[in-house]
């Protein structure tokens, strides 16, 4: 199988008439994603790439039946409103593609999502792709490029950097290792489904035999992954690379952040935590494909 997205998932696009919304809808459709309709306030009745446009999410649901997920392409300041609309209409998974979403807006989306048992991905995410099945967001690009360069296989990829998500998948494919799903969790400090939650989803997925993860300095997501492994909640092999080894430490401005992080969040702490949990932490990005191949051979 795959996680989060496949060819059966019914997809809505909010902001379908905008610059990115329009282009990305076409690319999603070309790749076989089941995009069924779009929403754009005041644009009801328009047709975008053969899809009907509605004024509201509720209207789209009334006319098209249910959606499994909504992909949002509206400018950052309007993302909270769009996400609220989708969650309150009962859509269980919302993907927030844009960047520049205010952090308190993300916190509010997070609160509402928990109340309504909904999940969200992003903001500031390239999206998610299950090779040869479907994709959501901006990930991959032209469908021909995607078909040529991304294949189905046994590895799950999850990353905090968008470009690195596709890079890892591409280099794995080059030595014949395909993926179940590749996911960019989003580059912002507060995000919906994070590295740890993505890894848990890969645990549930039978087809995923191993996971490749790209982490970065800052936040405690990688440490959370290490805890999952130590707690026995993830027991597949995990190959990890942590970026930012050479990044200079910003001069500290706030004690509050330091008190909460308690030394976590640094390159050193992430590598140590993952190594102690038994992960394969690679030092050079270029080693990822071969180490992954070796790991798969031992299974």
């Amino acid at each position: 199988m795959s996680i989060l997205i496949d060819e059966t998932k019914r997809v809505l696009v909010q902001g379908i008439t905008g610059r990115e919304g329009m282009v990305r809808t076409k690319l999603m459709l070309d790749y076989g994603t089941k995009v069924l309709a779009g929403v754009s306030p005041g644009k009801a009745g328009e047709i975008v790439h053969g899809l009907p446009v509605y004024d509201t999410v509720v209207e789209a649901i009334e006319r098209e039946s249910h959606f499994d997920l909504s992909v949002i392409f509206v400018p950052g300041p309007y993302v909270k409103n769009a996400a609220f609309e989708a969650i309150l209409a009962g859509i269980p998974l919302v993907v927030l593609i844009p960047d520049r979403v205010p952090i308190y807006d993300v916190l509010a989306v997070s609160e509402l999502a928990s109340e309504h048992n909904a999940r969200f991905i992003g903001p500031n995410t390239l999206g998610v792709m299950s090779p040869e099945r479907a994709l959501m967001g901006m990930i991959g690009g032209r469908s021909r490029f995607v078909r040529e360069n991304f294949q189905r296989g046994p590895v799950g990829v999850v990353s905090r950097s968008g470009g690195i998500t596709t890079s890892i998948a591409y280099y794995l494919n080059k030595i014949g290792i395909g993926q179940t799903t590749i996911m960019h969790v989003g580059g912002d400090p507060i995000i919906g489904i994070n590295l740890a939650q993505a890894v848990e989803l890969f645990q549930e997925d039978d087809e995923t035999k191993a996971v490749v993860m790209f982490g970065e300095i800052g936040s405690t997501q990688e440490e959370q992954v290490a805890s999952l492994i130590s707690d026995g909640k993830f027991n597949k092999p995990l190959v990890a690379f942590i970026g930012g080894a050479a990044a200079k430490h910003g001069m500290r401005f706030s004690h509050a952040g330091a008190i909460i992080e308690q030394g976590r969040g640094t390159h050193e702490s992430k590598v140590k935590a993952l190594q102690e949990a038994g992960c394969f932490v690679v030092e050079n990005f270029g080693e990822i494909p071969e180490i992954t191949r070796d790991v798969l051979r031992t299974l």
């Binding site: 610059r19 960047d99 609160e111 050479a246 001069m251 004690h255 030394g263 990005f285």
Partner: protein, 510 residues
């Protein structure tokens, strides 16, 4: 995370109802004396810089007299405190301190909620205290969308043993602190120390606050110059760069300088990344080879060619760079020719004289590489272009090969822009000018084919807009630059696209 200076933060919490010492912000020694006169002696002079531990770094002085004030202010203004230049001082009444507390908040990425912290051991060393005696700090997670109740504040206070009169006095301070942080969408805020004076008043003796960059548009009254994570005030080039980003919502452009005041030959490279993760790896590849980076720059999130052009112009404004290195994630989902065209226009206009290695891997990379190759006669420096199968390390190695014996041409082609304009239309951030006399003599009319959005058409034998002018100005013209570039390579040089960069020309002149 835009940082606020102490005096800016204090204004916010004072507005929320928290007492702060009497104070004035000054920027000359004369003003310091006048401020001290009004406040009354003794006073404290506090450097307004974004660092912790100012006292031990000479950033704080006490004064009993006007002579003291003048001497300290003269010494402190313009001095460096932990590498930051002091431009302003806060002159403040000296408090009679009985005890010091810590009150802070940040956003907890695990719980996805703001969290407030309170400790009876305020002042310096709070981080060490938190590590050694975590129980001495009360923590409370907060709902992002509401104020806190008095009983919530009370419970936090009793958890660190604060009861009675003190508890009563601190409840409204805690409530006001969170209300202010929430109102201004603080990423972090802290009052350290929150002091109790000997006569029993509670006052914020310091205040540090960072505000969410992306919410800055809702708080334009806060005097934030650049809504970005900077650990020092912005340079003039960074201000110019931020002006570009603020005026164009398409894609992301981030720029900051890492090395300044360097000479040619010191191995300082202009860096142009795309995407955070790939940029970091690409920078590492340069650093491993012993180069220094003039700047960090990221153009990502599918920026238009015009934004990449402006970014490249900003990088090239660092005149003494020895090389130009562009490298992103390697397998980008965005079509790479947009970046290629932006780079070509900047390199051609500026006459790129530093060897360049450009790694544009991902969608349509072959088109991107071909564009860079076709225009390579328009600048004197050598340029090599690579794609997704070439690692950052390999590209860094290529740059070092080019830098060993730079092969700078003495002759190169230049864009011959038309001097008269007979037709033009506006775009989101610029203007497209035509000299239709030249266009009439142009046989190829390559601009028409080059326009992927098909907004140009031939009318009476010359290119004109096929759509309404305001539609072009609102973004139907995506500023892809293809018409101009093809016009100069294959046509009769009748097009010029003006993409002004506010402040850059003045900067170059100075």
């Amino acid at each position: 995370m835009a940082r606020l200076f102490e005096y800016q933060g204090k204004t916010i919490i004072e507005d929320a109802g928290i007492s702060v010492p009497r104070s004035e912000v000054i920027s000359t020694a004369d003003e310091a004396q006048k401020a001290a006169e009004r406040i009354g002696f003794p006073v404290v002079l506090k450097s307004q810089v974004w660092v912790t531990g100012r006292a031990s770094a000479g950033g704080i002085s006490f004064a009993e007299s006007q002579d003291d004030v003048f001497a300290h202010a003269t010494r402190m203004l313009g001095a460096l405190v932990k590498g930051q230049q002091v431009l302003k001082l806060l002159i403040e009444e000296k408090l009679d301190i009985a005890s010091e507390y810590f009150l802070g908040m940040t956003i907890d990425d695990v719980r996805k909620r703001p969290v407030m912290m309170l400790s009876t051991r305020g002042g310096t060393g709070i981080e060490e205290i938190a590590l050694k005696w975590p129980e001495s700090i009360a923590r409370m997670h907060l709902c992002p969308d509401r104020d806190i109740y008095d009983f919530e504040a009370r419970d936090m206070l009793r958890r660190v043993g604060i009861r009675g009169v003190e508890q009563k006095k601190l409840i409204p301070i805690i409530m006001a602190f969170w209300a202010a942080a929430r109102k201004y969408e603080a990423r972090s805020a802290e009052i350290n120390p929150l002091v109790q004076t000997k006569d029993g008043r509670f006052m914020a003796a310091d205040c540090r606050m960072t505000i969410d960059d992306y919410a800055e548009f809702r708080h334009t009254d806060r005097g934030i110059e650049i809504a970005r994570e900077f650990d020092r005030p912005a340079t003039s080039l960074e201000r110019i760069a931020y002006g570009i980003e603020a005026g164009d919502y398409r894609g992301t452009f981030y720029f900051f300088q890492m090395t300044r005041d360097f000479e040619k030959g010191e191995g300082v490279i202009g860096f142009h990344g795309a995407g955070g993760g790939g940029s970091m790896m690409s920078m590492d590849a340069l650093l491993k080879r012993g180069y220094k980076l003039a700047n960090f720059c990221d153009t990502s999130g599918n920026p238009p060619s015009s934004k990449v052009y402006r970014a490249a112009r900003i990088i090239l404004a660092q005149k003494n760079i020895d090389g130009y290195f562009a490298s992103g994630s390697g397998v980008a989902s965005q079509e790479q020719f947009h970046s290629a065209r932006g780079l070509v226009k900047a390199f051609a206009e500026e006459g790129l004289s530093a060897p360049a290695v450009i790694r544009l891997g991902g969608n349509a990379e072959e088109v991107a590489i071909e564009i860079l190759r076709r225009f390579s006669a328009y600048w004197p420096a050598p340029l090599e272009a690579y794609g997704k199968d070439d690692s950052p390390e390999f590209c860094a190695e290529r740059l070092s090969v080019l830098l060993e014996k730079p092969d700078i041409a003495s002759e190169w082609k230049r864009f011959d822009f038309p001097s008269s304009v007979s037709y033009s239309f506006r775009t989101i951030t610029g203007r497209v000018d035509f000299d239709h006399e030249r266009c009439l003599k142009c046989e190829e009319k390559p601009c028409i084919d080059a326009c992927a959005k098909q907004i140009l058409k031939l009318t009476d034998g010359v290119p004109r807009l096929a759509i309404a002018e305001d539609a072009a100005a609102k973004g139907r013209c995506t500023e892809c630059l293809a018409c101009e570039l093809e016009c100069h390579l294959l046509g009769n040089r009748g097009i010029k696209i003006e993409l002004p960069i506010s402040g850059l020309d003045d900067e170059a002149a100075s």
